[in-house]
Subunit: 410 residues, 2 copies
């Protein structure tokens, strides 16, 4: 029998089953109140719109095209619709600057493959989106901690990368209501990042998965829009690569996301996709285009209203039930609140107890840190729970944290 361990390429050993994966299985246990999943509420899916979209595709002249092979860059009308949406965000671009991927997770994987060789450095925030770390890990980079307050010199990043045997290849960050923290980078922070990227001569990968889900506060232009505002509006000269998704707004099960960038980058990605999976599902791209063209804004309004109410419920419940010495973010959108417990408490140990005694699930924050720090943090998602459930779950969690703090002090 073949000794597979000797035949797998080195990089496969970097991919470990994450604790998150196991956690998500808890979502199906009816006795658990789960704030763990980062998934949209299926009750808000525009299922009737999708039903109409597929029915129309099968009754119309596009049926053969829907079932056939298609081009790697994506479905033309969807790319054009997205170019129009990007213009509303301050990003003037053509359909040729838009590339369709099978969910924005695939976009992150391709960008890792495009830019990273082993020992290159990726700059990421601490914490950052776990899926980005998983995607990039396959290409064996080093990570350095991206400061969004600008308190590190470009030279310090260069030296750290050189010490790891490579160069800084990109900065990756989630800009609006980030997964996992719920925090938003302000305009000044975005402008500092552009300056840093210019100094280091690297691209910025702007993860905008939650961009549409703002519940209050003023919208901040994407980093890509700020870069274009400063360069005279020339996307071909932009270093920012914008990653978008339909998974939080329409539905994740179709696996349709997109990347907006200079056509130089798009062409490389298209060749990569041709080799990697030919193209994203034709019929699903058509269905997304159909639903988006007819009712994207109304759908976004609907989910904003629902999630905004849940966010309010969670923040209110945290205020009522969490003991002093804990703190949490106040997200203006998205799906997540990030809780910081007193130093010395461990989110993973807390989860084990919480499942056992309080029947409440969440994600311990350590997994989101490239260096394994963040033991005293938790991610809570409010997207899939109604207000009474949130109140009950946070009340239980507050009780547990309080009792742990008391025990630690004793």
């Amino acid at each position: 029998m073949l000794n597979w361990d000797h035949i797998f390429a080195t990089r496969s050993s970097r991919m470990k089953a994450s604790e998150i994966r196991e956690l998500l299985k808890l979502l199906d246990r009816p006795d658990i109140i789960s704030f763990a999943g980062g998934i949209p509420d299926p009750a808000l899916f525009p299922d009737q719109d999708f039903k109409a979209a597929y029915a129309e595709i099968f009754s119309g002249p596009a049926v053969n095209a829907a079932l056939q092979y298609s081009v790697s860059e994506g479905y033309g009308p969807l790319r054009s619709w997205l170019a129009g949406e990007m213009a509303k965000l301050g990003v003037a671009c053509a359909a040729e600057n838009v590339f369709i991927v099978s969910g924005s997770q695939q976009g992150l994987d391709y960008l890792g493959k495009l830019f990273l060789s082993p020992n290159d450095t990726a700059l990421v925030t601490w914490p950052t989106y776990l899926g980005a770390l998983q995607a990039f890990n396959a290409y064996e980079p080093a990570y350095d901690k991206l400061s969004v307050t600008g308190n590190r010199t470009p030279e310090s990043y260069r030296l750290a990368a050189a010490a790891n045997g490579g160069k800084v290849k990109f900065a990756y960050l989630s800009v609006d209501f980030a997964n996992p923290t719920g925090e938003t980078i302000d305009r000044e922070g975005r402008e500092k990042l552009i300056a840093l990227a210019e100094d280091l001569d690297i691209p910025i990968i702007e993860d905008a998965a939650y961009q549409s889900l703002r519940y209050d506060g003023e919208a901040i232009p994407p980093i890509l829009a700020l870069e274009l505002a400063a360069n005279g509006g020339d996307i071909e000269a932009a270093r920012t690569i914008y990653c978008g998704s339909f998974s939080k707004t329409l539905a994740p099960g179709l696996r349709v996301g997109y990347i907006v960038a200079s056509s130089r980058v798009i062409r490389k990605l298209v060749l990569m996709k041709q080799a990697a999976d030919l193209h994203s599902s034709t019929i699903n791209q058509m269905a997304i285009a159909h639903v988006a063209e007819r009712g994207f804004d109304a759908q976004v309004d609907k989910i904003r209203k629902a999630y905004s109410h849940r966010r309010d419920s969670m923040l209110a419940a945290l205020g009522r039930h969490m003991p002093e010495g804990t703190r949490w973010t106040k997200p203006e959108g998205g799906m997540f609140v990030w809780v910081t417990l007193p130093e010395g408490m461990d989110g993973t140990a807390l989860l084990a107890k919480s499942i056992e005694t309080e029947k409440v699930a969440f994600v311990p924050g350590r997994a989101f840190h490239a260096d394994g720090s963040g033991a005293n943090t938790l991610r809570l998602s409010f997207s899939c729970a109604d207000a009474p459930t949130i109140e009950e779950g946070i009340s239980r969690l507050g009780r547990l944290v309080r009792s742990e703090m008391t025990a630690a002090a004793a």
Copy 2:
């Protein structure tokens, strides 16, 4: 402006736009008779079955699951159905041995990522499936020519791989009616390959994309089935990794393919997919399962009848119109006939003339050779042309080849 050439990882420079891509655009030119595309005839898609499948999904209890995130390994009922199909082919396995990918092209990409590090050697036939070379190229392997007649010693492969700075990591081949040659590896050849793989202690990647499309002759068990027949039926001890596809039988536009292997390999691939794109489209996996469970065999019968007739037409036309000194394969299934012109003739130059003067398209054979040889070969596809068109196109191609041979002799 960022100098992208300095920032792209090395491997991206290996991915060049292929001439094939440009060629496929010719399919849309109404004045060209095209034997270039390797795509299924859309007139044979089971579109009414798919229409019913999507309608049922949207009217039933599975609609939320269809639109939601799902597990990386694939949709359970589809994995179970495939395990049943594999049993019919002599491969006893469980659903846990089946992994769903977004088209078998994605399977090849993942297998390249799993096994290949730069300078490792992949054994491939000369010629081989172009998409496999494109998928593997991203991982920068060396290639060595896989002999299916067994006229090379295992030691010769080992020495060649060592000279390239690595080890042999796998043998890849298409076994039935291969793209591009239309040829089938006989049982003896398959058994020799198993012995070679055992000697080299490497996996075999068995590309079975055309396995169902046999028009005559006796079916030969997959390499995986032969391996199991010899090892007592233990898939967990198998070194063969079987790659299957619904693209040639049901429809490519849904992007659903599969890999069957030991669960040791499947678990690695599932982790890889989780990092690379989370999972394949949930709704499309459900639709494929729905259509396959209700009418896979009837659909395969329908396309076999149609393609078998077209293959007969093409072989008859080649016999009538191609000059002496040319030869071609006699495929027992699939979509392709492989033509060998006299030494010294160049398929790429012939294509340019053919488009110009005869308005007939095909794929020059050089692209399918890892070493750039095969200049005097052509791939012809019969899948999308009716009998009169085949007769007319081959008649024109024969005229051109004859005139080129005459000119060369003058």
